[in-house]
């Protein structure tokens, strides 16, 4: 009589399969390992409570992303109310590829990138991260954000165009002298 309930086993699969990926997503949204961890706990606790009542179990990955997105947004708004902490960026980059690392070795550049991404409208930032770094398709992003796949595609496109423009504009001002000093 040690039969495990069906719900437990199915939920464990969700933890095994997606928790690393969801954590990575939360870290990319929040850029803070501790906050991302808090949010991961929160996401899975909510998922656990809702799981037995969940009718359609076909899109569990997108479902988890949806919860994670909501939790991150709530947490960010609460944090924003308390204070804006953008200063402390130590240890923010995890093992970037060496060739690319050179380009962002400068913390100023990293700060500018993160600030630029944070300046994006919420949905554009989420869509960009989901598509470009989490590998979701537009249909999945639409399921997560509650829009159409076409809207998701537009959001990703707009995000990329904006970032390109902002960073090129800023880079033109600051890049030249730094490169020389590093050579």
């Amino acid at each position: 009589m040690e039969t495990r309930s069906v719900t437990d086993a199915a939920f464990e699969v969700l933890v095994e399969r997606y928790s690393a990926e969801i954590y990575a997503y939360l870290w990319r949204l929040l850029r803070d390992p501790e906050q991302a961890s808090d949010c991961l706990q929160d996401t899975y606790l909510r998922a656990l409570r809702a799981f037995p009542r969940l009718r359609h179990r076909d899109h569990l990955r997108a479902w988890l992303y949806t919860i994670a997105t909501h939790r991150a947004r709530t947490l960010q708004r609460e944090a924003a109310r308390r204070s804006r902490r953008q200063e402390d960026l130590k240890d923010e980059i995890a093992d970037p590829r060496p060739s690319v690392a050179k380009r962002v070795a400068d913390r100023e550049m990293l700060r500018r990138v993160l600030q630029a991404v944070d300046r994006l409208p919420e949905k554009q930032k989420q869509a960009l991260i989901l598509r470009r770094y989490q590998g979701l398709g537009y249909a999945e992003i639409a399921a997560v954000q509650g829009g159409s796949p076409a809207a998701a595609r537009t959001n990703v496109h707009l995000a990329q165009e904006r970032l390109k423009n902002w960073l090129q504009a800023e880079g033109a001002e600051s890049r030249t002298p730094r490169r020389r000093s590093g050579a």
Binding site: M1, E2, T3, R4, S5, V6, T7, D8, V15, S19, A20, E21, Y23, A24, W27, R28, P33, A36, S37, L40, Q41, Y44, L45, L48, P52, R53, D91, E92, I93, A94, D95, P96, R97, V100, A101, R103, V104, M109, L110, V113, L114, A116, V117, I129, R131, R132, Y133, Q134, G135, V156, H157, Q160, E161, L163, K164, L167, Q168, G171
Partner: protein, 222 residues
């Protein structure tokens, strides 16, 4: 997790990719996942129970999760009941009269004769597919009537499985609510009952329900 190829503007976004593509450090991921395991173990699925030390059939524990009543035990001490529940459900177990109030009230009414049937959601996830079939067949036996193990076996399309039916009923997780006491031996003998005071409890329940089985109380002494 590699970045998507073929998107426009990738070249100009190399700084963004450098900041985002590699993702969090492996040790952060590991730490967050380990914490998650602890969080879920502490929270986990929840089972709530309440305990009646002095019902007409003796000590009774009733447990329910969010889907329905999952266990009823007759005769166990509260501590044993909780331990058994933890072992079987692997869930967090908490006493909460609120969560099982309806089940307890209906049980008390039933045992006092004020109620003739139960109207409760039940959760049979602790049982095997075969056992579930048997239990659902037992659930269909009307109050005041009895069936034999063989009849139940035939009813579920397994005419030769009378012994297995007996086993399945013997492990009924919801005695009284699922009336396994209405199933008797082919000779009309009570045969067996694992809850409370065994056969005496089975006979008491059948009497309460006014079951007609003349040889019902033969050989029962207290």
């Amino acid at each position: 997790m590699s970045r998507v190829k073929g998107e426009r503007g990738i070249g100009a976004l190399s700084e963004v990719d450098a900041a985002y593509e590699a993702g969090p450090k492996a040790e952060w991921v590991t730490a967050a996942q380990a914490r998650l395991q602890r969080t879920l173990a502490a929270e986990g699925p929840q089972v709530f129970y309440d305990y009646l030390p002095h019902s007409p059939v003796g000590r009774v524990g009733v447990a329910a999760n969010e889907r329905g009543v999952i266990a009823l035990d007759i005769g166990l001490g509260e501590r044993d009941f909780v331990d058994r529940l933890k072992r079987r459900t692997r869930a967090g177990v908490r006493r909460s009269a609120d969560h099982v109030g309806t089940a307890i009230r209906q049980l008390e009414e039933y045992l006092s004769g004020a109620r003739t049937s139960f109207d409760l959601p039940i959760d049979l996830s602790l049982t095997s597919a075969f056992q579930r079939q048997v239990l659902l067949a037992a659930l269909a036996i009307p109050r005041g009537e009895t069936r034999t193990y063989r009849q139940v076996a035939r009813r579920i399309g397994r005419p030769k499985a009378a012994r297995a039916v007996g086993q399945a009923l013997g492990h009924n997780p919801l005695p009284i609510i699922i009336p396994c006491h209405r199933v008797l031996g082919s000779d009309g003998s009570l045969h067996g009952y694992s809850g409370g005071r065994g056969l005496a409890t089975k006979a008491w329940l059948l009497q309460l329900e006014g079951a007609r089985a003349p040889q019902l109380l033969n050989g029962i002494s207290e």
